[in-house]
């Protein structure tokens, strides 16, 4: 069945052949309804096993028991059966949307089959490995067969930039702020759609967590599978190297006004008097992001909970030195293996307001949780959590 799915997809996409893959990241183990569970169990019943290293994206349950998931029976049981089926197929129990920060880092130029939109874009753009945007079911089918359709971003000529996204008009102060990359990512995704672009005007490497936030936001607002940043990402030593032709087909000169509009567009409510929750960690928080959270909270007590979503790769070290207990004592709810927009964790409220620093949460929270969203920096999220009301610092682009 797995090979038929790979072959049928290849036919649909016009791929003339299949190519071997080095690894897979599987986004199919999140419960959306019984159909996905029945599919995974069909594969298990057929005796399937993954042929290559395969990490798992988030599931619908917190198997580490950090947070309480409100999923009721029979859905809860079906979600658990689904996670169990993927384990039996031989996938690693990574349960994270940031596998690239949990030790799964394919080498530059290698062909892989990754699912989860942010993981795909990071894998292509920051690691320089080659994957298309594999959807649920094709990712596991590729992992089982060890093959993927030969098309799209597996070909070097399809990875070159056709568009320039010039951010040189934006201020250094803006780039020093933590919201710069998620806001730019959201704007980038909306502007480019599925065209491959190169960002120009960046002087220094902004750090891996910034690129993670940029890619996740871009892959939410657009169909972005690969971006380049001149002088930063591995396939774009400079603009000339990565452009497909002598001149770009289009150049987007980003203005402070465009950034202000993109930032405002991440919120769906303007000036609420109170907030009900704060959510961070889409993609899953890294060690460095937990360090920043701890520094900002500085031992204070939160009036509104901060849901901090992460993977077990980070949880292990947080538990070693008592940091998890200290964070939880402040009012942080650590969520492992899953996150607040994929499964019911936050209280069900009809007029709830969620504050977040994640461009990806800002995109998906209204549809998936019913909460209105206020977008802000992590520092503003923490201060707002402490006073229980929205607090904003002005950050001009």
């Amino acid at each position: 069945m797995a090979m038929r799915i790979v072959a049928e997809s290849a036919r649909l996409l016009g791929a003339p052949r299949l190519i071997p893959i080095a690894s897979a990241h599987i986004d199919g183990a999140l419960y959306h309804g019984d159909s996905g569970t029945l599919f995974a169990e069909r594969l298990v019943e057929g005796g399937a096993r993954v042929a290559v290293r395969s990490t798992l994206n988030v599931g619908a349950l917190d198997l580490m028991g950090c947070s309480r998931i409100r999923l009721e029976e029979p859905q809860r049981g079906m979600a658990r059966r689904m996670m169990e089926a993927y384990r039996r197929l031989g996938c690693e129990q990574s349960w994270t949307c940031a596998p690239y920060q949990a030790g799964h880092r394919p080498t530059l130029g290698s062909d892989v089959a990754w699912g989860e939109s942010n993981a795909v874009v990071f894998c292509n753009s920051v690691l320089g490995a080659r994957t298309n945007r594999y959807g649920d079911f094709l990712d596991i089918a590729c992992a089982i067969t060890g093959r993927a359709p030969d098309y799209g971003l597996h070909h070097p000529e399809n990875r070159r930039a056709r568009l320039v996204f010039d951010v040189s008009a934006l201020s250094a102060t803006f780039f020093a702020s933590e919201i710069a990359w998620p806001v730019l990512g959201s704007l980038y995704g909306r502007e480019v759609g599925n065209t491959i672009g190169v960002v120009t005007g960046i002087a220094n490497h902004p750090g891996e967590d910034a690129l993670k936030a940029f890619g996740a936001a871009a892959a939410s607002s657009g169909a972005v599978g690969l971006f380049h940043i001149a002088g930063v990402t591995p396939e774009a030593a400079d603009v000339e190297t990565i452009l497909a032709g002598p001149e770009p087909e289009a150049t987007i000169r980003v203005t402070p006004q465009m950034v202000a509009k993109a930032r405002a567009g991440l919120s769906t409510t303007a000036a609420p008097k109170t907030i009900d929750a704060i959510a961070i960690g889409s993609p899953h928080l890294s060690h460095a992001e937990f360090d920043m959270l701890e520094r900002l909270i500085a031992g204070r007590r939160l009036a509104v909970p901060i849901y901090a979503c992460t993977g077990r790769h980070v949880l292990a070290s947080l538990e070693q030195d008592g940091r998890r207990k200290a964070l939880e004592a402040s009012g942080v709810v650590i969520v492992a293996d899953t996150c607040v927009v994929v499964t019911p964790i936050m209280p069900e409220l009809s007029n709830g307001v969620l504050m977040t620093n994640s461009g990806k949460f800002a995109h998906y929270a209204p549809g998936n949780t019913g909460y209105a969203v206020l977008y802000a920096s992590l520092a503003d999220c923490v201060e707002s959590a402490i006073v229980g009301k929205p607090r904003f610092t002005d950050i001009a682009a």
């Binding site: 649909l12 996409l13 159909s35 594999y134 959807g135 649920d136 799209g152 939410s220 657009g222 998906y364």
Partner: protein
Amino acid sequence: MSAATEILVPGKAGEGEALVLTAPISFWGGVDPRSGRIADVRHPQHGEVISGRVLFLPGTIGSSSASAVLLELVRNGRAPAALVLHEPDAILLLGLIVAREMGWEAPMAVRLGRDVFDTFRGISVNVAEDGALTVAA
């Protein structure tokens, strides 16, 4: 009014009121897998229900779980009557491919130039077994 199309994924012939989306959508996070309602508050067609409609899609964005949402819609009887796309969608259409593998009756997906989507807006459309679109009687 009629149009010949190319069948992307074979499936059941269908009929329904056309729903022409005016912006690309992420099925995951954008469409409720239980009700088929467009849940993305930023989408121009927010609140519309895609179930039983002939759905004209200008493109998809966002999550790689679009396929899982479509499969769930098929299984619980809330799928569109047919999907009309400008180009093959590598993620979304997996939902139909897998539905067929599972033995669940699924709608077909056909390819049609985006420029003629508007001519079908709001009218009842029949999608025949050969993929041809006609105004339903």
